[in-house]
Symmetry: C2
Subunit: 326 residues, 2 copies
């Protein structure tokens, strides 16, 4: 019996094959997995396909193609009852658990978002990334850039493309939890900034009630105006907000300081005892910590007309693989 994470990937591959009208190879399946938020490379997909073959759920068909067997169809039907679509909050918790970053020693794994752009757009994208970082709207100045052919996580960066990895704000939640503070990432949203001052959230989506990442919703609806914030100080940015118990306030503030010293920033409202906070309801006995989203630089790429493929909550990565932008 594979672990739940592998199990989910296997089911998703069966689902992809069942939804396809033609036989599919590992590359196509990997692409579709990525589109659905599973960051699995071609090699890893091939490995998973072998596992499915061995169980008799899939079989080879044509040159490198795979199809579902009768048994695979049955397995999928059964799995679908228990493995329902899955809320984003479950995925978030998985990543919080996988965060091993220690701000004091500045080591361990952080959560990253990944964005693919064409090599032709690299200079423009890199310049924007730098501006977002320098203006203090990024989670961290530490990023990774992977060129075509280089491996980023389990993926080779496709020909003609470059991948950016940015620190995801979920890293903050992971560190809080690792240090014994119960944290609940509540809402992903849009904040309004006027003349460099944060005004309030103008839209939010509860992470626990959605199967689509709120950040993907806001970026695909083009609700940000990050470049305007960079140019003129006013506009709309991606942000999120988490709740911690009021009693954990002091230890949380200490951790946020440690994180700051380790170049993990982006918090613009930490543990103020205000309810609602910036227009967002906060539970009684809790306080809110609001931060920018690590997706902001990538949303800015999109605003500038750069074609992007954004994978929010893509993976964990050792902080040593990231380099500080100077």
């Amino acid at each position: 019996m594979p672990d739940p994470d592998t199990q989910r990937k296997l089911i998703e591959i069966l689902r992809i094959l069942s939804e396809s009208t033609e036989e599919m190879g590992a590359r196509k399946i990997a692409e579709e997995l990525n589109r659905r938020g599973y960051n699995l490379g071609e090699r890893a997909t091939r490995y998973h396909l072998r596992m499915l073959d061995e169980r008799g759920f899939t079989k080879k068909h044509g040159y490198l193609g795979r199809v579902l067997t009768k048994m695979g169809e049955e397995e999928l039907k059964h799995a679908l009852v228990t493995d329902r679509m899955g809320f984003i909050s479950t995925r978030i918790e998985d990543f919080e658990i996988r965060t091993t970053f220690d701000p004091v020693t500045n080591s361990g794994d952080v959560v990253v978002n990944i964005c693919y752009v064409s090599k032709n757009d690299f200079d423009k994208a890199f310049g924007l990334m730098k501006r977002v970082v320098e203006s203090g709207y990024a989670i961290s100045p530490k990023i990774r850039v992977a060129d075509e052919g280089e491996e980023i996580l389990e993926n080779d960066v496709p020909e003609g493309q470059v991948a950016f990895a940015s620190v995801c704000s979920i890293t903050i939640d992971g560190v809080l939890i690792k240090n014994g503070i119960p944290v609940n990432l509540k809402y992903g949203g849009i904040i309004k900034i006027t003349d460099g001052v944060i005004q309030r959230f103008t839209d939010v989506i509860d992470y626990s009630g959605t199967s689509i990442n709120p950040m993907s919703v806001f970026t695909s609806r083009k609700m940000t105006s990050i470049i305007n914030v960079l140019d003129k100080g006013s506009g709309y940015m991606l942000a999120n907000i988490r709740e911690i118990p009021m009693t954990a306030r002091d230890s949380a503030l200490k951790l946020l300081d440690d994180l700051h010293a380790a170049d993990i920033n982006g918090i613009f409202s930490g543990c103020e005892s205000v309810r609602p906070l910036l227009g967002v309801p906060i539970e009684l006995g809790k306080c809110g910590i609001a931060s920018y989203s690590g997706i902001n630089p990538f949303a800015a790429f999109g605003e500038a007309g750069i074609k992007t493929r954004i994978l929010p909550l893509a993976a964990v990565m050792n902080v040593r693989e990231l380099k500080k932008m100077e």
Copy 2:
């Protein structure tokens, strides 16, 4: 002191004026209100502006333009603390309360969605609407078509445009509540249909945790393939799901029958005691009622390349204003 509904509209107008860089007239304000989900016509907007003028929150500026006064700015700041962005579920409850439709006498007000299209696209749109209705994927065969210049609710249909009004599935919730059944519209989502058979929800968003209407999220992300369902029996459609107490099952089923006799349909899973239902979690002691969304015909317009302006949950309308498609 105006009622909460008017109060909200007044605040939204102040907000629009504060966010604008230029003076705005009633027409522009009405358009922006519509974009934000308030269905207020030019005339009604003018009436609201007069109320704001009288209180000293706005003043005339230039030819028919309005600007915010210092007092208006203060009022807005104060209001924003209490009048936060607002979740869609609040808006849904407002509309449930305003539903007065009685399926037995076939009279009273139903909730409608509205969609504006160009007159040039009318025939194509009308044909699609008819196909959705005839295939049983609409809430009701009763629709209203308003030509340019005609008044639909408080709006005149703009020149060169036609407005469609379709019955919104929230009408079902309104009728259940009016008859003493506590109902909770939980999720808006996407359902997968294969060979005419509903498979399961593939994505959902909790109405109580979002400030953006889930239906708008799914349509703007182009996640439907309604025309494919019409053509080939397979694809993805908009749907939603509500919970009622298991103990109200019998009276609910009776009401659903009455609704059916009164041409309000679209329910594809009524009170089955299955958990999860079609992949969606249902609370213990509750049962789920799943229905198509009244937005489906309008989403199909979009799929066919027709430029649409969709207002989900636009207003209530007397059922006598609607005409059955034959």
